[in-house]
Symmetry: C2
Subunit: 270 residues, 2 copies
């Protein structure tokens, strides 16, 4: 029954190569706004007037801090390639992961309100980001409706993502949170052209647990449960989604093992 799993962490090395294959070959110290726009929003068409604008690139190694909370807000960052976690640390020293930005997503927008970054941002993998001085971005947006619109959209995206996290934390049981998390990652990878059914979790179980408001042991147990149910495969940090529709059901269903019949709720027409 467990034949495949017996050679425990042997299998899907191909997953990694699938994600690595899109790494940029060149070592540009800066990139043009056209490429930036393509990364942030593939459908975007950049106006001619903005063709020669470019932004510097910054590289970070796995484990490095990209930002520290409390530092003065002066720029936002677009992830060109790589994997990050953003987190808040409270006075007691416990941390809450708030997001896992990946290629094509923005970092640092939360500093705008107070003038200081509110989160620590740590690279989970060797990564490169495009540095966008915010004052410059605001200047450009002032004269260009398309860029202005993009900026607003990025804000909104950030806001709704955080809202979704709060919803998950507020009303889902542990297994539904894990399923939601896997599906969310899957979709975001798919949007960036990676595989939506096989990927690598660059973060630790503790990071996942912090993000989902549960303990790392619960994360591990839940993943094992999903494996036992045949919905996913787990080889260490390598994940394969085997039954996405079923996972989607886990997202809102009471629980995993209770399974069984769907129960209908009548709703008064008053």
């Amino acid at each position: 029954m467990l034949a495949l799993n017996s050679t425990t962490h042997a299998k899907p090395i191909y997953v990694q190569s699938a994600q690595k294959s899109r790494l940029p070959a060149r070592d540009n110290a800066s990139v043009g706004l056209a490429e930036l726009a393509r990364i942030l929003d593939p459908e975007a068409s950049v106006p001619e007037s903005l063709r020669d604008i470019s932004f510097p690139v910054r590289r970070v190694r796995a484990g490095d801090f990209l930002l520290r909370s409390g530092a003065e807000f002066d720029a936002v960052y677009a992830v060109r390639c790589g994997f990050f976690k953003t987190l808040r640390v409270d006075e007691a020293g416990t941390e809450q992961v708030l997001a896992f930005p990946i290629t094509g997503e923005m970092i640092g927008l939360d500093g705008i309100g107070t003038g200081k970054y509110m989160t620590d941002v740590v690279a989970l993998d060797a990564s490169t980001v495009i540095v966008i001085p915010f004052a410059r971005l605001a200047n450009l947006a002032r004269d260009n409706a398309w860029l202005e619109r993009l900026l607003y959209r990025l804000f909104g995206r950030e806001l709704t993502c955080t809202q979704s996290l709060a919803c998950a934390l507020g009303l889902l049981p542990a297994d539904a949170r894990v399923a939601t998390f896997l599906l969310d990652l899957s979709e975001r990878f798919a949007q960036r052209g990676y595989s939506s059914s096989a990927f690598v979790l660059r973060m630790t179980r503790a990071d996942i647990g912090s993000y989902l408001g549960i303990k790392l042991e619960t994360v591990s147990r839940t993943l094992s449960g999903l494996v036992a149910a045949g919905l996913i495969e787990v080889y260490g940090k390598n994940i394969v989604l085997r039954d996405i529709p079923a996972l989607r059901q886990c997202t809102s269903m009471p629980a995993l093992k209770r399974g069984g019949d769907a129960r209908f709720e009548r709703r008064m027409a008053a």
Copy 2:
């Protein structure tokens, strides 16, 4: 020992009058940008050039919807006076309260990303809001650095508030969430000139529970526990904070009843 509480819900009617005393006397159908700015940011000084700009006002009764999720995003709203809840309803019909906007706070910013409002917004009390068509706001902000800055700050405020909620849901036990909630309300009332130590919870226990990711019974029990500990007084929806420093400790301490000694954690210097 319970002498004060024996006449159960008799006492602090004065709380309500304290909050009501600031209601606007006039029935203006529109307000100038100067007043809008004063509501949103008391320290702001409005440039001369924007003096004659004004926005319409909309009234809603308690229980009315100000916005429905899915409706087309076209305006944001500044609460002039009143009390709201914003919530998401998932496909199963369960709802998650995401915020309780009060006087001086913004509603509807979450629609910018997708072009549709993401939340339902319900008035918990008779309220008036200032209707700010977003296209118009963006136009004005384009030509006026001060307004642009204000708009960004409002976004940031929204974002960090939602992040704080996620943190509370992710790592605090129930009593700490309730204490945090009370203190947050207290501060926001204080900022608006209301009493920071006595106020009325216009929302139900179920709303509070939804916001905090716990059940209404737990809310009720926790409030009772805080009363027993002498930190607050509760007379139905009337709340009096009696020991704010102690409440603040509840915010990050393990729990309520365990009290006792502070335990220190050593942290490696690696």
